[in-house]
């Protein structure tokens, strides 16, 4: 009998490192399929709309609460520090800039990942282990196109909208915190906010949310689509999807921030 393990060469990295690269490679190939399939008919518009509706309903309550609290806490936290330096008048601009550039997009994406990539992972993996994906395949329907492309697209389209909504709520939250302690009018506050915000703050903040949305959809679908091992696999797919999506969001954010800094400073 052949013994496979003995024939393998020793691995230069620890198994976790190699399996990490294996996953990243697998995920990359899996995601590239999206760009190949998304433009080719038949288009599943009904499916995409259904997913967008579902995602919206699923995440709206939690992002509403989050958005509001981000602004509130940010303003409350920063107030003592800012007043120590006599910079209290900069508080509205500080809230707006932090929210629009960084906190809004990243926190919304992380919450979205927690709520959505686990859901997609669980849904697709249970379809995989109960052979529903196979059933689709033998009835000549491309399961990747029907199940994966529609979900990734829905995530990519809805996260930017959710982020705008969160940004808006966070700025309102910031106003409430500041007005309670400083006696600023809403008009003055909004004025200060818009004076400090520039296109170069808005665009990168929003552009990266498309990438984050894509990551959430792709990671959830990748984990679910390739699930094995029955019900154990379903649980594993949904939890590991959240971990991986969150991690990738943070890493991508770091890279994108660096890139925008380079572009905009020239």
């Amino acid at each position: 009998m052949k013994n496979n393990t003995k024939e393998k060469k020793p691995i230069p990295f620890s198994p976790t490192v190699t399996s990490f690269f294996e996953i990243v490679a697998g995920l990359t190939i899996f995601s590239l399929g999206f760009f190949k399939e998304v433009f080719s008919p038949p288009y599943e518009f009904a499916e995409i709309k259904k997913h967008i509706d579902e995602l919206g309903i699923k995440t709206l309550p939690i992002v509403t609460v989050t958005g509001f609290i981000i602004g509130l806490v940010l303003a409350m936290q920063s107030q003592p520090v800012m007043s120590r330096f006599g910079a209290e008048s900069f508080l509205p601009s500080m809230v707006a800039l932090s929210v629009v550039r960084e906190l809004g997009p990243v926190l919304t994406a992380l919450i979205f990942a927690g709520r959505v990539s686990s859901g997609i992972g669980a849904e697709l993996s249970s379809m995989r282990v109960t052979e529903q994906i196979d059933a689709m395949e033998v009835s000549a329907v491309h399961p990747y196109r029907y199940l994966v492309v529609t979900r990734i697209l829905a995530c990519t389209l809805i996260l930017p909208i959710l982020t705008l909504y969160v940004n808006f709520l966070a700025i309102i939250g910031g106003f409430i915190a500041i007005s309670l302690s400083q006696g600023i009018t809403f008009h003055q506050y909004i004025d200060a906010v818009f004076r400090s915000l520039q296109f170069s703050d808005l665009i990168p903040g929003l552009a990266k949310t498309f990438v984050f949305g894509f990551i959430v959809g792709a990671v959830g679908a990748y984990k679910g689509y390739n699930a094995t091992n029955g019900t154990v696999g379903v649980g594993r797919a949904s939890t590991s999807a959240v971990v991986m999506a969150s991690l990738l969001i943070l890493i991508t954010d770091m890279v994108l921030v660096k890139i925008t800094v380079i572009i905009w400073s020239q």
């Binding site: 038949p42 052979e131 059933a135 689709m136 033998v138 009835s139 000549a140 491309h142």
Partner: protein, 244 residues
């Protein structure tokens, strides 16, 4: 219709199918027997390319399944029905949507009235007209099996692969389902490969029995001779008497 030559399939060290050849003619019903875990489901899945064999060739309707382009493979798959052992109903869709799914995508020329008519017809055939608006998780195991069967036959495929169509059903339903499979063959000249453990079902359906054991085909011939065989395994497998 289906010609399998020298098919070999293993998972890791587990050799499941070992150099199997069989030929099922158009309009023929072939029943496949074998103990649990001998690779009956694996055989069916290789035929529709849900699994890739290690070696061997599979021709369906004269076309080599494993070397077809994706587009041609899908054209071929439209002519093949597959009943999964676990039914594999889409659990986010109602019974009606489950049945509509293959019709909408593979019979584009059908109007929605024609589809509704067809859905009624197959539900009647499996005797489940009253569950049309239910979700799969509201159905019993046997009902799921029958809806799975309805979804398999709704596109009127030329070749149907049944993985245990009657397991878990009561004797009366077993008879009805078996007769339905037989009728499909007689009326529409459908070719079928039926995996089953059920002798009653086999007797109604079959012209031919194939027995798999330990990765090999150990019997391929008429059903009536099976029970008279002298082979120790076949004797153990097919005689009902319990003696100690």
């Amino acid at each position: 219709m289906v010609k399998v030559s020298n098919l070999t399939k293993s998972f890791g060290d587990n050799l499941v199918l070992d150099d199997i050849s069989l030929d099922v003619k158009t309009g023929e019903n072939a029943v496949v027997f074998g103990r649990s875990g001998t690779g009956k489901s694996v055989l069916l899945k290789c035929i529709v390319k849900l699994l890739i064999p290690d070696a061997g060739e599979i021709l369906v309707d004269g076309k080599n399944v494993h070397s077809l382009k994706e587009k041609d493979l899908n054209e071929l798959r439209k002519e093949i029905g597959f009943l999964f052992q676990g039914s594999a109903l889409y659990d986010s869709m109602s019974v009606k949507e489950n049945l509509e799914f293959p019709l909408i995508r593979n019979k584009k020329e059908m109007s929605s009235e024609e589809r509704d008519e067809k859905i009624k017809q197959v539900l009647k055939a499996v005797d489940l007209e009253n569950v049309i608006d239910k979700m799969p998780d509201e159905l019993s195991g046997g009902m799921k099996k029958r809806i799975g069967l309805a979804r398999t036959i709704i596109t009127e495929p030329k070749l149907i692969l049944y993985d245990e169509p009657t397991t878990g059903l009561d004797p009366i339903t077993v008879k009805e389902i078996s007769e339905l499979i037989k009728e499909l063959q007689k009326d529409l000249n459908v070719t079928s490969i039926i995996v089953t453990h059920d002798l009653l079902c086999a007797q109604i359906i079959s012209d031919r029995a194939i027995v798999l054991n330990e990765g090999k085909i150990i019997y391929d011939g008429g059903l009536e001779n099976l029970t008279k065989s002298d082979d120790k395994f076949l004797k153990d497998f097919f005689t009902n008497e319990y003696s100690r």
